[in-house]
């Protein structure tokens, strides 16, 4: 039978939101049930944020929300109203150079198929903000919320070490 009235409302109800993503402000009207990951990918066309499980385990959809790593598949877009997001597209900015974390992943062969990579880069960004000089154990612990099926993590760990070193040495502000 058809769903009851309350459910129908939940399916169709919409809401105005304003979200700042990678420094740009977006105002959109969205269904209240729209996932933040779908909002980023399909409404804003920021498809670098990937979706690997839709139940908050794999970490592919990790973005920064006010600087903290969160899983965009476990949030509704409306929950990001008036908040600040950073996605993989915002990491290198508009310059031609890669962000030091991205650069380190390239040099250390820290990615293969690349699907989990954006989520991992965002997690590493948050990790290095909290632990600028992490031990190998802290790196592995910090990465354990992101699943990579290709690399066996070894070169990811190496990339994080290199990125941490360079970020410490340089004056780049990790935000």
């Amino acid at each position: 039978m058809m769903q009851n009235e309350e459910e129908t409302l939940a399916f169709t109800e919409e809401c105005e939101i304003a979200v700042t993503v990678n420094g740009q402000r977006y105002e959109r009207r969205v269904p209240v049930r729209l996932l933040l990951s779908d909002f980023l990918r399909h409404d804003l066309r920021l498809t670098g944020t990937h979706v690997g499980c839709e139940h908050g385990v794999c970490g592919c959809c990790t973005v920064l929300l006010n600087g903290e790593a969160v899983r965009s598949c476990l949030m509704f877009a409306v929950q990001a109203d008036n908040l600040f997001l950073t996605t993989i597209e915002g990491m290198a900015g508009t310059q031609s150079e890669l962000h030091p974390i991205q650069q380190a992943f390239m040099e250390k062969h820290g990615l293969q198929c690349g699907f989990c990579t954006p989520g991992i880069i965002m997690s590493v960004h948050a990790l290095l903000h909290e632990h600028p000089d992490p031990s190998e154990e802290e790196i592995r612990e910090g990465l354990s919320g992101n699943i990579c099926r290709c690399t066996g993590y070894q070169n990811i760990v190496e990339a994080v070490k290199l990125a941490a070193e360079r970020l410490r040495a340089g004056r780049q502000e990790v935000e």
Partner: protein, 800 residues
């Protein structure tokens, strides 16, 4: 001296794009007017479909189409059998949508197409299917029981196939052997779990009358040809593209998954693009799985630990269908002898249907099972005779001067299981060094004094790679000097855009950044098969090499005419073409490409410079001589191997087991790998790392648990545990390079290798660590809970 690209650890060309989030995976493709599909899947493992009522779904605003079996007309045909075999007497393949009966939980029953995925899923809830449940075959044990229910009513005994092969005279050897042992081994189901699920976008262009599909697949060319046949379209009016693919590991070398037919069907019917993206739950219950086998083995050996004969009888679970024929069990049978000089071997297998997700190759494809069985045998021989485990391996290894070595069995490609080259002892010596093998016993003893249980495990394997039938490649130099290279194989993380560019750059003397490789697009190259069986670098790489050599020779010929020199004196380096003794008078490769096309009106800087050089003037005869082989610096070549080439490896690990909890920690992991000549060591090592991690998952955490009703109990990442960075140890990798005499580049496959020996070495290490408990591991995977259970049983045995 020109830069050497082949063999160099160059950085990947695909990375800057992927690191910026600028990759294009299927779900990133967005076409104007696109609709979204969702699939209704069977909730029953086996049932008769009494009725389907989709009227409420059809009436839901925003729904464009609901498809059930009866709406598909002549498209409702079982998928093709991909690899037929005489022993496969009862093949069954799946319909795009189930009609009359369902055979596993997850089988596609209906499709909804709507304005959004959200709406499409709403509509799924409104479809009412009335099932009449039938008895379920939920395990190999049930499938092979005498009065088992039938998965397919017309397949007696659930037997899809039965194959017997024999080498030598095992019966005679068993009759007179000094030692004979019989054992059984069990390997349970697991799955590839690429991070990107499956997906497809289909677009019907009425102006071009052309169907284009972007699919997360490992084999776009067979799919294109299949779709053309299904929809009655000319092949050149169907384009299938595998864009960036987020991992495959075998599960995406399949045709047809139902959605690959349903989505283009809907797009053609509606005249609008349609997208279907699999979610993770769907992936757990509808993307192919593997691994489940039960082995009964007998083996004979002498007092020196020489393996004399093996008799292996096994039962292979193929799930509800046999889309991929009996490839996986054939590989198991052929992989079992491994690196050992086994002259008497009887192999018999039975392929059984179960009411589970269909089985097709998953990274390793039947090999981890075989290696598990064989390495268990070797360890046991060492144990029985109180010999060192590595010493027993050394005594049985095929020696380097015994190649080519014919195992005596017919391989999966129909060719011989014939090892082309190898040096197994060299690998073993390297592994000993990496593990500090000679001092391990002291460490183990010291640890035991502290109440800690350390164990060392070993796994050796030989892997058939680089099989046919063939692949091809096209190499073409553009006017600006950049090189366009295309092949039919796909890439799902192996970095073919880099390694194939290395092969081409080496031959044409250009920078790899000037080589643009296209893979997996039927419009770019439409001959070939796909990326599977660790074959892309060997087979497509060889084709790429042959095409590049042809282009190089043509460039030399044309430059020789322009410079009025001999082709033998022409060199290609740093993007230039010149006479060896006068490099200052050089043409760019782009200029030679322009000269190679005398009929073309040439534009651009290169063309202008060329005019000004006033090289060789007008000649008599046709502008494009017959022996030129066509215009341009362009060539297509194909490579078809005589038979597969056999890579090998030996892995070892030191683990620590906590007998109180069953938890295991890897203290050290080392892999020595031989894939012939290495194109890019960084990439090969990355493949090994990833394989090992997947192997650790498959040996330890990853078991798909079905209940007696055929319901998958752990269909989420919360319950089916993939290893994370916290579980996978650092992996030491070393190489032995034994070039393959079969292919022009001497390379062998590397993609699957890492995963293959892990269950074997895990069992080996557990036996070693838990020797005081008298434990003998005979099953995989071993979740900590199961290990704890086995330990409890062992302790009880010891007490009584």
């Amino acid at each position: 001296m020109a830069t050497r690209w082949f063999g160099a650890p160059v950085q990947r060309l695909e990375d800057p794009r992927l690191l910026r989030g600028k990759g294009t995976y299927v779900d990133d493709i967005d076409l104007p007017g696109m609709l979204h599909a969702a699939i209704l899947r069977s909730t029953q493992a086996r049932a008769r479909i009494v009725s389907i009522d989709a009227s409420a779904a059809r009436a839901l605003p925003g729904v464009s189409l609901v498809l059930t079996a009866e709406d598909l007309g002549n498209v409702l045909e079982p998928s093709p059998l991909l690899v037929p075999h005489a022993a496969l007497t009862h093949p069954r393949t799946q319909l795009p949508l189930a009609r009359d009966e369902v055979h596993y939980v997850g089988e596609a029953v209906a499709m909804v197409v709507a304005e959004s995925r959200y709406l499409a899923e709403d509509a799924l809830d409104l479809i009412d299917v009335d099932y009449e449940p039938l008895p379920v075959v939920h395990s190999l044990d049930i499938a092979r029981a005498p009065d088992a229910p039938l998965v397919h009513a017309d397949v007696p005994g659930n037997v899809a196939a039965h194959l017997v092969q024999q080498v030598g005279n095992p019966d005679e050897v068993f009759a007179s052997a000094p030692h004979v042992i019989e054992e059984t081994f069990l390997i349970d189901r697991g799955a590839a779990m690429p991070m990107e699920c499956r997906g497809i976008v289909a677009n019907w262009d009425p102006f071009e009358e052309m169907l284009t599909c972007w699919i997360s697949t490992q084999g776009p060319i067979p799919i294109r040809n299949g779709l053309a046949a299904i929809f009655g379209l000319p092949e050149h009016k169907v384009r299938v593209v595998a864009p960036d693919v987020g991992g495959g590991f075998g599960t995406k070398i399949m045709m047809f998954y139902p959605e690959e037919i349903l989505t283009p069907f809907a797009a053609r019917k509606l005249g609008r693009p349609v997208k279907w993206i699999e979610d993770r739950r769907e992936h757990f219950i509808s993307a192919n799985q593997e691994r489940s086998q039960f082995h009964e083995v007998a083996y004979a050996f002498d007092d020196q630990g020489i393996l004399l004969a093996v008799r292996d009888r096994f039962w292979h679970d193929t799930g509800a269908y046999t889309p991929y024929g009996i490839i996986v069990p054939i590989i198991t049978a052929c992989t079992l002898p491994g690196p050992y000089r086994l002259r008497h071997y009887a192999s018999e297998f039975t392929v059984l249907y179960t009411n589970k997700v269909p089985v097709s190759p998953y990274r390793g494809a039947g090999r981890p099972h075989a290696v598990f069985v064989m390495e268990r045998i070797i360890d046991r021989i060492a144990g029985e005779l109180h010999l060192d485990r590595l010493e027993v391996r050394s005594r049985n290894f095929i020696a380097p001067d015994e190649f080519p070595w014919d195992v005596g069995l017919v391989y999966q490609d129909g060719g011989p299981t014939k090892y082309d080259s190898g040096n197994y002892q060299a690998g073993l010596e390297k592994l000993k060094g990496l593990l500090d093998y000679d001092h391990f016993r002291e460490k183990q003893e010291a640890a035991r004094q502290e109440g800690r249980y350390l164990g060392l495990g070993i796994g050796c394997y030989v892997e058939g790679t680089g099989i046919g039938p063939y692949e091809g490649a096209k190499v073409s130099v553009e006017s600006d000097g950049r090189v366009y290279a295309a092949t039919g194989v796909t890439t799902q993380g192996q970095a073919h855009a880099t390694t194939l560019a290395q092969i081409v750059a080496e031959q044409l003397g250009v920078d790899i950044h000037d080589v643009m490789v296209t893979t997996g697009d039927t419009q770019a190259f439409h001959w070939g098969v796909g990326t599977y069986a660790s074959r892309a670098a060997t087979v497509a790489g060889s084709a790429m090499y042959l095409a590049a050599v042809k282009v190089r020779e043509k460039a030399k010929q044309i430059a020789a005419e322009l410079f009025e020199a001999s082709p033998d004196d022409i060199e290609l380096a740093n993007g230039k073409v010149f006479v060896r003794d006068s490099p200052q008078k050089a043409l760019t490769l782009g200029q030679v490409a322009i000269s190679a096309n005398p009929l073309r009106y040439s534009y651009g800087e290169n063309a202008r410079k060329l005019m000004n050089m006033k090289l060789a003037g007008p000649r008599p005869g046709p502008a494009l001589p017959a022996d030129r082989g066509g215009p341009g610096l362009e060539a297509s070549e194909f490579y078809s191997p005589q038979h597969g080439s056999f890579a090998s490896g030996i892995h070892g690990a030191i683990i620590e087991v906590d007998p109180a909890t069953g938890m295991v920690r890897f203290l050290k992991y080392a892999a020595v790998h031989d894939c012939g000549r290495v194109i890019n060591p960084t990439i090969v090592e990355g493949q090994v790392h990833g394989g090992v991690a997947q192997g650790i998952g498959g040996a330890f955490f990853e078991r798909l648990v079905y209940d007696t009703e055929g319901q998958l109990m752990n269909a989420s990442f919360m319950d089916y545990l993939l290893p994370t960075a916290a579980e996978v140890p650092p992996i030491l990798v070393d190489h032995v390079e034994t070039p393959s005499p079969l292919s022009p580049l001497g390379v062998k496959g590397a993609g699957e290798a890492g995963v293959i020996p892990v269950p074997a070495l895990f069992a080996s290490a557990l036996d070693d660590a838990l020797a005081p408990f008298g434990l003998r591991i005979r099953e995989m995977p071993l979740h900590p809970c199961r290990l704890h259970e086995l330990l409890r049983e062992a302790r009880e045995r010891q007490r009584s």
